[in-house]
């Protein structure tokens, strides 16, 4: 029932989000909201395999593959971004297959470590394959405003694009979680052997979950490139920005749930920016120290993430001693 209430809250916020551009004329606030929406989409996409207990720290790989595909097609071959979008998804899916098939054999931290290595290898390839990627210098999206080129003078189009993207990814994640696949992933996360004995092909479930995740992340990557105008290996394949950040958002909000990533992204994105703006310029590095402390404190005191606070409350009411079950702990 707390989920119901959250949903209601979500719908209210959504309505607000749609009308905001009409009332708020600060482009900076729009920009911040756009970043938050991107972050929600990223985190929710990252979170899909987490339903099954598979935590990746290499999602920058898919983000980068998608972004690079879109940018290379557009900048080098003049292909419209609207074709670049499905192409980016397709290539990310391919990356997902290549990464997932072998890595599925690994569990827990070993899966996580291998995903980091995977993203790092791609980053180095992007640096080295200069004929295609223009190496470290990267590619710039030329400024030719218009919907055809997915390039805009004003901030509103990307505000709406990212809003739709966020809603779409959260919706897909929601549908997946409540589909057979979601059931199978969750079952596998809490007891893989039992799930298998019940006829659930858990490896296939993880595989499909990771494919959804990689495809969506690739899609977000393409949009993001046109939002930020630059592709460059150290940004697109950045472990901190696109592998760790979604995971941190997820942890703070509550991994493996639908609303956890949303809450995490909504809190952490502005927090990161705020700390950078107000602390980073007072004393370089201070913002990260505070950010790190926030993380450690969260992990120590609310290991289930913010969502678990809501859960805990409601389950306390119903039976007194219920504890939030780690729905996503990898056993």
């Amino acid at each position: 029932m707390s989920a119901k209430r959250l949903q209601l809250l979500g719908i209210t916020l959504l309505a607000a989000a749609i009308v905001i551009p009409a009332f708020v004329d600060s482009r900076f606030i729009l920009q911040m909201l756009t970043l938050i929406f991107f972050s929600i989409a990223m985190t929710s996409a990252w979170n899909i395999p987490v339903f099954g207990g598979k935590m990746s720290l290499g999602h920058a790989a898919f983000f980068g593959i998608g972004g690079y595909t879109g940018a290379i097609l557009y900048v080098k071959f003049g292909v419209s971004p609207w074709i670049g979008l499905p192409a980016g998804v397709a290539v990310s899916l391919l990356g997902g297959v290549i990464m997932t098939l072998p890595l599925l054999r690994l569990r827990g931290p070993f899966f996580t470590l291998a995903t980091i290595a995977f993203a790092e290898v791609l980053r180095m390839i992007a640096i080295d394959w200069r004929s295609l990627t223009n190496g470290s210098v990267g590619l710039n999206i030329p400024f030719k405003p218009g919907w055809a080129n997915l390039t805009f003078q004003s901030g509103a189009p990307f505000y709406f694009i990212s809003l739709i993207l966020a809603i779409a990814v959260v919706f897909i994640a929601y549908r997946l979680r409540h589909s057979a696949l979601g059931f199978h992933l969750r079952a596998s996360a809490s007891n893989d052997e039992a799930a298998q004995a019940l006829g659930v092909d858990t490896r296939r479930a993880h595989f499909i979950g990771l494919l959804w995740s990689s495809g969506l992340t690739g899609l977000i990557g393409v949009f993001y490139v046109f939002f930020i105008y630059v592709v460059e290996p150290n940004t697109m394949f950045s472990t901190t920005l696109f592998s760790l950040q979604p995971a941190l958002n997820g942890i703070i909000g509550g991994i493996g749930t639908i609303w956890g990533p949303v809450i995490g992204a909504v809190i952490m994105t502005p927090l990161g920016e705020y700390l950078r703006v107000y602390l980073g310029t007072i004393q370089q590095g201070l913002n990260f120290v505070v950010y790190g402390v926030v993380l450690i404190v969260t992990v120590n005191f609310i290991p289930g993430g913010i969502v678990s606070l809501v859960r805990l409350k409601s389950s306390n009411r119903s039976n007194g001693s219920g504890s939030p079950s780690g729905a996503t702990e990898a056993h």
Partner: protein, 295 residues
């Protein structure tokens, strides 16, 4: 041929450094079963400590080990007690994030205190080399290699033959039963973390003669150390040594014969391949390393 031998020698030397840096991680990963992403930052702090002892008191870096090792030992103990112990029972994922956050904090504290400057120490032996039949051997790297070998032997014997070492191996298997033997598990965890930090610090001290210190110096080493430990097998000291050498040689050959820019990509690729074929690591025996994933 001569080049081949030179490449091999250089690879083994840098591999020795990797091994030394990884030994501490293996002690922590293998015993406390914590994935410590702040490993490189422990290295960084040790390097700064060595640097300042030299800068302010003119102490020789190798000599400063006498102060730096105990200091970092206590730092490791402190980290275990304050940051790690509360999450010891939490899922591996939570531990990863707590230590990622820790690494972020330590890096930026270093930045606040010491700025982004690249600091180096001047020593008489920093750039000295031995030349044997046209093969060059850098003296500080050779020292690092030998110390790596020595400390791995030391650690191996410590774990194998001392009472405390055996207890450390025992708690890896079953810490409840270990408690029934009167083994003070928490204390041993502190010891393991402290020792892990001290060995890492030793790596830092030996790096100083040929590497600059700056806040993010530890970052690449964290991942290298993980790769070495996983390849070498969790808890296996000899495996760590071989794993370090393996990575060093792969990287140097790849760098020389393929492209210097791709040397990291090559060993990452090999790491993923090895994990797939032998999840227990190249030199690990017995239970697959992936067993910990089950914990």
């Amino acid at each position: 041929m001569e080049l081949m031998i030179q490449v091999l020698v250089s690879g083994l030397l840098i591999g020795g450094v990797y091994a030394l840096i990884s030994v501490g991680l293996n002690l922590i990963f293998g015993v406390v079963r914590i994935i410590n992403f702040a490993h490189g930052e422990v290295l960084m702090l040790a390097m700064y400590a060595t640097f300042w002892l030299n800068k302010v008191y003119g102490m020789d870096p190798y000599l400063s080990a006498l102060l730096v090792l105990p200091a970092l030992f206590f730092f490791g103990v402190l980290l275990q007690r304050v940051v790690v112990q509360p999450i010891q029972e939490a899922s591996a994922n939570m531990q990863i994030f707590a230590t990622v956050a820790l690494s972020l904090i330590l890096q930026n504290i270093a930045l606040i205190f010491w700025k982004g400057d690249f600091r180096t120490i001047q020593t008489s032996y920093a750039m000295s080399t031995l030349e044997v039949m046209n093969i060059f051997v850098s003296v500080p790297r050779l020292v690092a290699f030998l110390v790596a070998l020595a400390s791995i032997l030391l650690l191996y014997n410590f774990l194998k033959h001392t009472f405390v070492g055996k207890a450390l191996r025992a708690i890896v298997e079953d810490n409840t039963v270990a408690r029934l033997m009167g083994i003070r598990v928490e204390r041993l965890y502190l010891l393991a973390f402290g020792l892990g930090a001290a060995f890492t610090a030793l790596g830092g001290i030996l790096l100083i003669p040929f590497s600059a210190v700056y806040p993010t110096v530890g970052v690449p080493f964290t991942l290298i150390a993980f790769i070495v430990v996983v390849l070498g097998g969790l808890g296996s000291m000899s495996g760590t040594f071989l794993g370090g050498l393996f990575i060093g040689v792969v990287e140097t050959f790849g760098g020389t014969y393929v492209s210097p820019a791709l040397k990291e990509a090559i060993y990452f690729g090999i790491f993923i391949l090895v994990l797939l074929v032998r999840p227990q690591g190249l030199f690990g025996k017995g239970k697959g390393t992936e067993e910990i994933g089950l914990k």
